[in-house]
Amino acid sequence: MRNTCKHCCTKIDNLKVKLGGNTILDNVNVHVNCGEVVGIVGPNGAGKTTLLRTILGEVPYQGRIAFQISGSVSKKPKIGYVPQKLQFDFSSPISVADLVVSAISFYPVWMGINRDLLERVKSILSLFAAEHLLKRRIGELSGGELQRVLLAIAMTPGPALLLLDEPGSGVDVKGLSLFYQLVDDLRNKHDIAVILVTHDLAGVSSYVDRLILLDRSVIAEGNPEAVLSNEKLVKTFGPSLWNVSLLPNLKSSKAGKNDHD
């Protein structure tokens, strides 16, 4: 496992989330250090997305979520968030530049984006292999392209914690490996903590430092090989959790498949 910085971290202790009378999460304990990429896997309805939304502060909870940055406790750190496959209107007249500017600047985009700002957006996008998308409408982007634009937004300005919700859904294999590569670079360069919710076990296992199996509570935790080779877990969660074709020992022969989610 990678050496991570111990001065800053996200600590989730004894977290409980109830929505509409149902307990979605119970007794969840997760610690993430900066510079660490943690993958969260679990069957559908396990509470993965709820966990991210709770960290974002959207969902009421019991328990404790604490952020510590450079030794001091911070109540509201900057959190970058890349949402799951967006369900927006594909004919929407919002360009990539519009979306980025409205997220990173107060300058009202409906008045027209000036050249300086456009150059700034272009240089931000260029770090994510997306500068050629600047004037495209967001509805015209492929899954992978949109994901890179959202990652560019999430990383501007640099957050302490990056949350990625199902980056695999709707993205082809090539796009996904480019995305993971970018996340890996970011973690190395900026020492940020990354929490990544995914179904794509095989694709993600070489990029994450730690894998957490979540089903209302943390069922197992450890390095990806250990979690994925635990036979008991495979038996219990196997059919609902991962597609057999994506299991690590088979991944070389099935690498071309992309049928998750």
Partner: protein, 282 residues
């Protein structure tokens, strides 16, 4: 007063028959102030797929007028605004808490508020008095109302300047917006309240039946060829002002209801843009 006299003199310079009438000068000024507001608000109404919501909002005027009548108030504008704002906030709250689809909730409310209003207003067969609210009367606009439109136009412009970006983010994804420190609830609620205000204040112009199309049509037409938010907004404002002015003047010569004539022109713009837009995007 000085401003309105200046306006009258300005219009007098045009060599048309209709410019001799004060009511036409007033109506033109009202149209020039309110159509850009409708265009701006409409861009977000269409982006956020709120067309049905604003239709319900417009129809809530029935209940507002009825409450005004019950309370014995001469000018029902205030009760109309109160009902519309309450309805807007209630729908906004319901949307997040109910399991029924927003469409269904709106459908139920639509029927309820219209029926309630009509039942109260039709007591002793007096409904005919209120038909002017159905089709509106832009030519009856007073200088005081125009001052009101000026204030509203400034409010909309300031709001758009301050909250435009946040609304774009919210319309794409509310979690994404929250992660960018946008207070989504505040944005959505304030937007619906502003909508309620603008629609209720201008319902005398266009009428309950067609007020919603003034919001939806310019934005929908502009969307057919817009490639970004700037061109979308620009297109909607141009189409809205163009249909407003043309519709008003044409209605003078045709002797037709101005609101409906304006809507016909806006619908014409939509038709043209749909045809041209398809060709451009091919």
């Amino acid at each position: 007063m000085i401003m309105i006299n200046f306006w009258y003199r300005l219009v007098d310079m045009f060599p048309f028959a209709w410019t001799h009438y004060v009511f036409m000068k007033n109506a033109l000024l009202a149209v020039l102030l309110i159509t850009p507001c409708f265009a701006l608000l409409g861009t977000m109404v269409v982006n956020k797929r709120m067309a049905f919501f604003t239709d319900v909002l417009g129809h809530s005027a029935f209940t507002g007028i009825a409450i005004g009548v019950l309370l014995g108030i001469q000018d029902p504008t205030l009760p109309m605004i109160a009902v519309a704002v309450a309805l807007a906030v209630a729908i906004n709250l319901l949307k997040d808490t109910t399991r029924a689809s927003v469409d269904t909730v709106l459908g139920v409310l639509f029927a309820f508020i219209v029926a309630l209003g009509i039942v109260i207003l039709s007591r002793q067969g007096g409904f005919a008095k209120y038909t002017s609210y159905l089709i509106g009367d832009i030519l009856a606009v007073s200088p005081r109302q125009i001052a009101c439109f000026l204030v509203i136009a400034i409010v909309v412009l300031v709001y758009w300047y301050a909250a435009g970006n946040a609304m774009i983010l919210t319309s794409v994804n509310s979690s994404l917006a929250r992660s960018r420190a946008v207070n989504v609830f505040l944005i959505e609620t304030s937007f619906t309240i502003l909508l309620a205000l603008v629609v209720m204040i201008s319902i005398r112009l266009a009428g309950i039946l067609i007020i919603n199309s003034l919001l939806v049509l310019p934005a929908a037409a502009s969307r057919n060829f817009a490639r970004n938010i700037h061109s979308y907004t620009q297109g909607a404002v141009i189409i809205s002002v163009f249909s407003g002015v043309t519709g008003l003047i044409v209605s003078y010569y045709w002797g037709t209801a101005s609101g409906a004539t304006i809507v016909l022109f806006a619908a014409g713009c939509y038709g043209v843009s749909a045809l041209l837009g398809r060709r451009l995007n091919r």
